[in-house]
Symmetry: C2
């Protein structure tokens, strides 16, 4: 593999995967780049370029086999090996994540739920019982997880992050609204629930500002 898959392509593969799962459920055996593009909300040239980075899985004049593509994308993303995940912070967001179909349905198994609040310890969420965050190192060792998800309040996040790193977790997904720091060799990604709303605000703001300035001119 001399040419690595571009990061922008990697970011879209989950999109294609979701669209393909939907297509497979609706009984579609094959898709064109055009149809897949529509289902994923991008344009067809992008789909073809992206998929070409994984190899040649399409048939000219026909399209791509849905099942085959699901497998190849899953493999590329490493979803076929069934990751175990430890989720820290079982508030509303933690509950939402624990019950999220996009996790369990995509090769991610929640191996443990941790929280700092003693009142929540022992609670049953899905098929897992909430454990105290003090057990973190032990839990990570026992379950062998390599991926950690942080859904705690902002103040607790760095401490939890450090604990995860110390315990040997090398991939961390952070939902807390703070910038975390990790040592080299640990992959940290973040989701900020408010960022997109603020971007939306920017566009709405500019649109109404433009409309008003046009009305002034009229």
């Amino acid at each position: 593999m001399p040419v690595p898959v571009p990061e922008a392509t990697v970011a879209r593969l989950p999109l294609y995967l979701r669209a393909l799962h939907a297509l497979a459920e609706s009984g579609r055996g094959t898709v064109s780049s055009e149809a897949l593009a529509a289902a994923a909300g991008v344009n067809s040239a992008k789909v073809r370029k992206d998929l070409s980075h994984l190899g040649s899985y399409g048939t000219r004049g026909v399209g791509y086999e849905v099942e085959e593509l699901v497998f190849e994308i899953s493999r590329e993303l490493g979803l076929t090996q069934g990751w175990s995940v430890v989720l820290v912070g079982v508030g509303n967001l933690g509950h939402a994540l624990a019950g999220y179909g996009g996790f369990a349905g995509r090769g991610f198994r929640i191996a443990a739920l941790l929280d700092a609040d003693p009142a929540r310890v022992g609670e049953l969420v899905g098929d897992q019982r909430v454990q105290h965050v003090d057990q973190l190192a032990e839990v990570v060792r026992a379950t062998g997880v390599t991926i950690g998800v942080i859904a705690t309040p902002a103040q607790a996040a760095q401490q939890v992050c450090d604990a995860l790193v110390d315990a040997g977790v090398t991939s961390i997904l952070n939902f807390a609204p703070v910038v975390l720091s990790v040592p080299d060799g640990v992959d940290l990604r973040k989701v900020d629930l408010a960022v997109e709303l603020q971007i939306l605000s920017f566009h709405q703001h500019r649109r109404t500002a433009l409309r008003e300035s046009r009305e002034v001119l009229a």
Copy 2:
């Protein structure tokens, strides 16, 4: 304003804003691009370029005034005008969003909470009582909201989206894992909670694959 603010810059402004709020709380009066970059998790050249698109708010040899920058970024993002938001879907994720500091703390007021489940109607979340989604048109008219947030299950999302558009909402933020379609003139953005986890999986996968192939060679 002949040169529009680049989209990539807009996407980072919320980051800077969060970092600046934290700096302001800790009593910092002024920041260098270097310090702000560290707090926001980017590099300093980017910070300077980004901020230069808003105007010249820095002082050479000194840096930027924290309070001033907070105001200018907020203004650019349109956060100073206090948007009202309607949130549809009050499950775990909806609860998490309703209680999220990044919304209320940034000029977004939740004007209404809607849900399709009669069992949830009437429930008090924060200072709002959950109303039935059938009231959507009426609620939008009464409150004059222009931003809608969808936190429903995937199956319900397009229907809710259509209802929002019909009611006159022109900016929609979608948390449901489906691609929604909206008419021209409506700005649609999405957050997929599972995408980042899958990207993380890709990197973790590639890392372990590389390590293994190196071990084979050794």
